[in-house]
């Protein structure tokens, strides 16, 4: 049985253009999946469908059961989601925010058991941010806030973790720490992670496999080294690049080119532009 199974997933905002159009893929338990694609390609919409926020057409199954059919509480114990930013209406202690991760497990009054307390403390420890526990959330730096937010999802202790560009606003140091801790905590325990990325190289380094989305459709899927090449980057992002191998991981790495893409593709012989120069500009 697949951990996540998506079949013919469709969704459109306000009856307009389809934001998701016939997406099909499946994810095995313990896989780390990176989702990439240009702005507006449907990454976030896909994440929302997977986290049972949208009413979609088609089928999205988690552990063999349609996500719509789970009770919200049951689903929250199974799937944890973190997005780009966490902006609570009121300022509160970092600890109170991480404690929110235990809401799916507590009784009506939301009283934390000693086990819950232990898990909350452990979440701070796992991310190496014990020093932030009693700080006020809005007094923290952007990077620290994102770590606290991640600790909340850690405390939720889900089987499947979904990240929606959670590292988008972070510097390289925070990205490294956060992605490393997530890999350590989830991969070693054979838990599944799906993460969308703005930065293609972050996606490549982090993920076992990639899903490439363009215009709401699944454009490509597979191992990073098989999927990523100049042609794909150009077709999906309309950007020219050079591809190198990461000296340490042997994974591909995408370097942005700033030369005129037309002359580049002409010299590479990928597109014959002499006949129709407008083709690329479109």
């Amino acid at each position: 049985m697949y951990e996540i199974e998506v079949k013919n997933l469709e969704f459109s905002y306000n009856e307009g253009k389809k934001a998701l159009n016939g997406i099909t893929f499946s994810v095995k338990k313990g896989e780390i999946i990176g989702i990439i694609g240009p702005n507006g390609s449907g990454k976030t919409t896909l994440v929302k469908a997977l986290s049972a926020i949208l009413t979609y057409k088609g089928s999205v199954k988690v552990k063999g059961k349609e996500v719509k059919e789970y009770s919200k509480r049951e689903f929250a114990q199974l799937v944890g989601v973190a997005s780009q930013e966490f902006t609570p209406a009121y300022d509160m202690k970092a600890k109170e925010i991480v404690e929110m991760g235990r809401i799916p497990y507590t009784g009506l009054l939301g009283k934390l058991s000693s086990k819950d307390d232990e898990i909350v403390k452990h979440a701070f420890k796992a991310l190496g941010i014990e020093n932030l526990m009693n700080r006020m959330f809005y007094s923290l730096s952007g990077g620290e806030r994102q770590m606290v937010y991640a600790a909340k999802v850690f405390a939720q202790d889900p089987e499947i973790l979904i990240l929606d560009e959670t590292t988008a606003h972070l510097d390289i140091g925070h990205v490294e720490v956060l992605l490393n801790k997530i890999l350590r905590a989830f991969k070693k325990r054979k838990k599944t992670v799906l993460a969308t990325f703005h930065d293609i190289n972050q996606a490549i380094i982090f993920s076992d496999k990639l899903l490439v989305i363009k215009n709401g459709k699944l454009f490509a899927k597979g191992f990073p080294n098989d999927v990523i090449n100049k042609k794909l980057i150009y077709e999906v992002y309309s950007a020219s690049c050079s591809i190198v191998k990461h000296p340490q991981s042997e994974k591909v790495n995408v370097l942005m080119n700033l030369e005129d893409e037309r002359s580049y593709f002409q010299s590479e012989g990928i597109l014959n532009l002499s006949e129709n120069p407008q083709q690329v500009l479109k």
Binding site: K72, F75, F86, A89, Y90, I97, M100, I103, G110
Partner: protein, 324 residues
């Protein structure tokens, strides 16, 4: 628990002061049924006590509803009147008074029922306008609330100008007053305010989750749409009861939740009962100023809540800013 003795002392003090001073020993005697003079008995049991209890109830209902609405809408400017209950109720009350003048003076006894019905009606219009695809988007809700408020306020102005010029009654509804307190309304408001504060305290963990936004709340397992409808219906009911008993008393529902959160933290399981107690106490304190400072005239309580409340609020806001 700590609040209880302080609140009792506070109530006793408020019973003592007014146009006539009554010694505390006499108040206690009267309350436990021992003999005191008849005049004092009437002042305490028929005038001051119901008025104080009504103030506690109305303040508690408004402040806890305001606190819940602020969390649900993720908007610190939300108050219990944001859905139009207040202007709806004022319109209903003034309408029935106009009708009473024109057709049957007895209709005036149904004033509070009309206020209640029109308050609920206004909020219902707000819900229906805002509702979209079985969901209740908060931005639409706030906007349609603004619209409904404006609509009924216009209706109120219309009624005052063309039909009815009773300034005192108008100020009762538009600025609020606890002077209309009989034991019946005290009991009703008391039950409702205790109920609503308890209810919002019980669902505190869900309100906590909502402060992070609707999607974040869903991610931790909250049934957001159900919660929204429940909170708005319960809050609207409580507000309508409060307004029909005492008119539109502003400020309590807006600022007391802020003060409660600043003092006791943002956890609704604590800030909710704190809002209720502070809201009640604040209203009673404002009322004692309203009825004593300008004797024999009585200032509308809404004026006092704003006059007293704004500086307190500004002070807390400023003090806070320095810390951060």
């Amino acid at each position: 628990m700590i609040a209880l003795p302080i609140l009792t002392a506070f109530v006793l003090l408020n019973l003592a002061f007014g146009s006539v001073y009554i010694p505390i020993s006499d108040i206690i005697k009267s309350l436990i049924g021992m003999k005191v003079s008849n005049v004092q008995n009437v002042i305490i049991l028929q005038l001051r006590l119901p008025r104080i209890l009504l103030g506690l109830g109305v303040g508690a209902a408004l402040a806890s509803t305001g606190n819940a609405f602020q969390a649900m809408m993720k908007n610190p400017l939300a108050d219990p009147y944001i859905l139009g209950v207040s202007s709806g109720a004022a319109f209903g009350a003034i309408l029935i008074n106009v009708l009473a003048q024109m057709y049957n003076p007895n209709l005036i006894f149904y004033t509070w029922i009309f206020a209640f019905i029109f308050g609920i009606l206004a909020a219902a219009i707000t819900y229906l306008v805002a509702r979209k695809n079985g969901k209740l988007p908060v931005t639409e809700l706030i906007l349609s609330g603004v619209m409904v408020n404006l609509l009924f306020s216009a209706g109120v102005t219309f009624l005052i100008v063309y039909g009815w010029r009773n300034v005192q009654m108008t100020s009762f509804w538009l600025l609020g007053s606890l002077s209309g307190s009989g034991w019946n309304s005290v009991i009703l408001v008391g039950v409702v305010s205790i109920g609503v504060s308890l209810f919002f305290t019980l669902i505190g963990k869900y309100l906590n989750a909502m402060t992070a936004g609707e999607e974040e709340a869903i991610h931790v397992g909250v049934r957001v749409e159900l919660l929204k409808v429940t909170v708005f219906v319960v809050g609207t009911f409580a507000t309508a009861v409060a307004v029909s008993a005492s008119g539109i008393i502003g400020f309590v529902g807006l600022i007391m939740p802020h003060i409660a959160r600043r003092l006791f933290g943002t956890d609704h399981r604590i800030s909710m009962p704190a809002s209720a107690v502070l809201g009640g106490a604040f209203l009673v304190a404002c009322d004692s100023i309203a009825r004593t400072a300008f004797t024999p005239a009585e200032m509308p309580i809404g004026t006092i809540t704003a006059l007293v409340g704004s500086p307190i609020f500004i002070y807390i806001l400023r003090r806070r800013r320095k810390v951060v």
